[in-house]
Amino acid sequence: MWDYNEKVMDHFLHPRNIGEVENADGVGEVGNVSCGDALKLSFKLDKDGKISEAKFKTFGCASAIASSSALTELLIGKTLEEAEKITNKDIVAELGELPEEKLHCSVMGMEALQAAIADYRGEKVADGEDEHEGRIVCKCFGVTDVKLRKVIRENNIKTLQEVTNYCKAGGACSSCLDDIQKILDEELKVKHDESSKQPDNGFATWPLVQKVVKVQEVVDREIVPLLAKDGGGMELVDIVGSTVRVRLQGHCSGCPSAGVTIKHLVEDKLREYVSPDIMVESV
């Protein structure tokens, strides 16, 4: 038996906002009956562009119903821009918690919301694209590699079991588990590579060696050749925090346009190739 908390049971036993909104502005339908759950979400906006009504119809277990009910409560009173930011994690947070195996119910809520917003905007349903895009990996639940990668990235998934918990893939005949593991390994590798690269907005926090190597590389490759055309040069003096100190050489030193050169050329190049928060000072 599942260990549902009081909040989940409350939403299940007393679901809020059941039904379909009349003359809805947006309608999203996701899931399918072969998976054992499906959700139809509809909403209406008021004059100020806020969601005045949101209703659901759900085929599914207690946690699917509770997730749908919680989602409608989250939506009402929000602008579309605010609503768009709601993720499955917000639904889980609203419910306190869901058993791990039931997290896919909250994902279904998020997908229905995205579909309903896309419907309002007259866009193609984003998730519908995913469903048909790519190669079907899990045949039992019709989950494609595109969708798997999306779910893995969005939820920071690290294990096979989590993949199944979030999108069911691999949860039935198990024959695709090897395949899913490969996709997961690839995603984890990409993530690892990305995290070993320095984030663009945290230049000040990079290790000094990393800063020097990166900046020097760009100075040598992009900046020095340009200055050399004018018979000038430049050398890297120091890096403190996000501030890169350089010394201009040759014709450039003492040149009245030095300030402008530094600002526009060196700083732009370093910001473009290394990090946008770099400041350049001449010493």
Binding site: V33, C35, G36, T58, F59, C61, K168, A172
Partner: protein, 394 residues
């Protein structure tokens, strides 16, 4: 919240009968000796175990006794699953030239998962399908059983839909090919008359807790003359066929439970059948878009499998639980697996129906009033959930 429990899930487990508990009580307290001991305090328990063994044999209609009057075809185990494991492993070991098992798609996981494991170990497993009512494809079975086949294993009665399978006929098919035949009779014991003395069945598993004995005791019947290799190897208990100190109290309890089942069987069958039919009629009259699953001409008298279309089983069970009603579901969500029951899928039930399938199973302790209460509560539960369902159209 109402907490008076209506227990309609007797295929999952049953209550221990008061008579069974009373029979067990002395063995939990004063008679705690080890039956293998030489002194009277322990040794006399061995005779009590032999009496329980005879009660089990009587329920199965296994009348053969050895020169000491013991029903040695009965081996006590810890559960139905252990009995199944012992039977299948033994059948493969004693016929090492044959490496194939034939079984059905609707077996209990104790058999199905074991067969999957045996496949990984290099054995061949052929799994025979069923039709829309869960009836076995007999011609496919006949084709599958051949000179490579070590064992045919087929459940006597299905736990989910209650179908009773033609075990005698299948035993004959197995024997014609020189194979052994085993049946998982966990659901059938006590609900279907059995006569092993006239039967061709070689091995049969039963479980205590399905017939009002406690959990943790089971039986493997091995016909006299059928070669057997023990599954649990240890001491000389059970004539060396199952090591481990006897679970004396539970064995005594199982003996009592078998005696009660045998003596009360005709009455119990009539009683639970009346309840089951009343439930099915009541539900069919009050709730639209349902289907009653299984082979109406041959199923257990106590079991009803009903699909409520367009809604999901876990949600139904949790709402019934609010009224203290216990049943079970073939839905994916209740089990932790993500697919609905393998039995319902083997029958080709549409997913809209499979997910919303409930099983009610009665025992001699259920009453007409309880059934009427279920019939009273269920329509509003079903309509509440259908109002939420995007598939339901009034």
């Amino acid at each position: 919240m109402k907490r008076e429990v209506i227990y309609a899930d007797n295929n999952a487990t049953t209550c221990v009968a008061p008579e069974v508990f009373e029979a067990m009580r002395p063995y939990l307290f004063e008679k705690y000796g080890n039956p293998s001991s030489i002194y009277t305090f322990g040794g006399e328990l061995a005779a009590d175990i032999e009496r329980a063994r005879i009660e089990v044999a009587e329920l199965l209609g296994a009348s053969w006794r050895n020169n000491l009057g013991q029903a040695t075809e009965i081996i006590f185990t810890s559960c139905g699953t252990e009995s199944d494991n012992a039977a299948l492993r033994s059948a493969l070991e004693v016929q090492s030239g044959r490496r194939k098992i034939v079984t059905s798609k609707v077996e209990h996981p104790a058999i199905l998962n074991l067969c999957r494991e045996l496949e990984r170990e290099g054995y061949t497993v052929e799994t025979i399908g069923v039709d829309g009512d869960g009836r076995l494809d007999m011609s496919a079975l006949e084709r599958a059983v051949d000179s490579e086949t070590a064992l045919v294993t087929l459940m006597w009665a299905n736990n989910e839909i209650g179908n009773i399978y033609p075990v005698e006929e299948v035993a004959r098919i197995a024997h014609r090919a020189g194979a052994l035949f085993h049946t998982d009779a966990v659901q059938a014991a006590g609900k279907v008359p059995m006569n092993m003395s006239e039967s061709e069945i070689d091995m049969l598993s039963i479980s205590g807790h399905k017939l009002h004995a406690p959990k943790g005791v089971g039986v493997l019947y091995v016909r006299r003359g059928v070669r057997f290799r023990p599954f649990i190897i240890g001491g000389h208990q059970e004539k060396g066929r199952r090591g481990g100190t006897e679970n004396v109290a539970s064995i005594i309890g199982l003996g009592k439970a078998c005696e009660l089942a045998r003596k009360g069987m005709a009455e119990e069958i009539a009683h639970v059948k009346k309840l089951r039919d009343r439930l099915e009629t009541g539900i069919a009259e009050r709730i639209p878009a349902i289907r009653i699953n299984g082979d109406k001409s041959s199923r257990l008298p106590n079991t009803s499998s009903i699909s409520f279309e367009y809604i999901e089983g876990e949600a139904i069970l949790l709402l019934l639980d609010q009224h203290g009603i216990c049943a079970s579901s073939g839905s994916a969500c209740t089990t932790g697996s993500l697919e609905p029951s393998h039995v319902l899928r083997a029958m080709g039930l549409p997913y809209t129906a499979a997910h919303g399938t409930l099983r009610f199973s009665f025992s001699r302790y259920n009453t007409v009033e309880e059934v009427d209460r279920i019939i009273e509560v269920l329509p509003s539960v079903i309509s509440t959930l259908r109002k939420m369902s995007p598939y339901w159209k009034e």
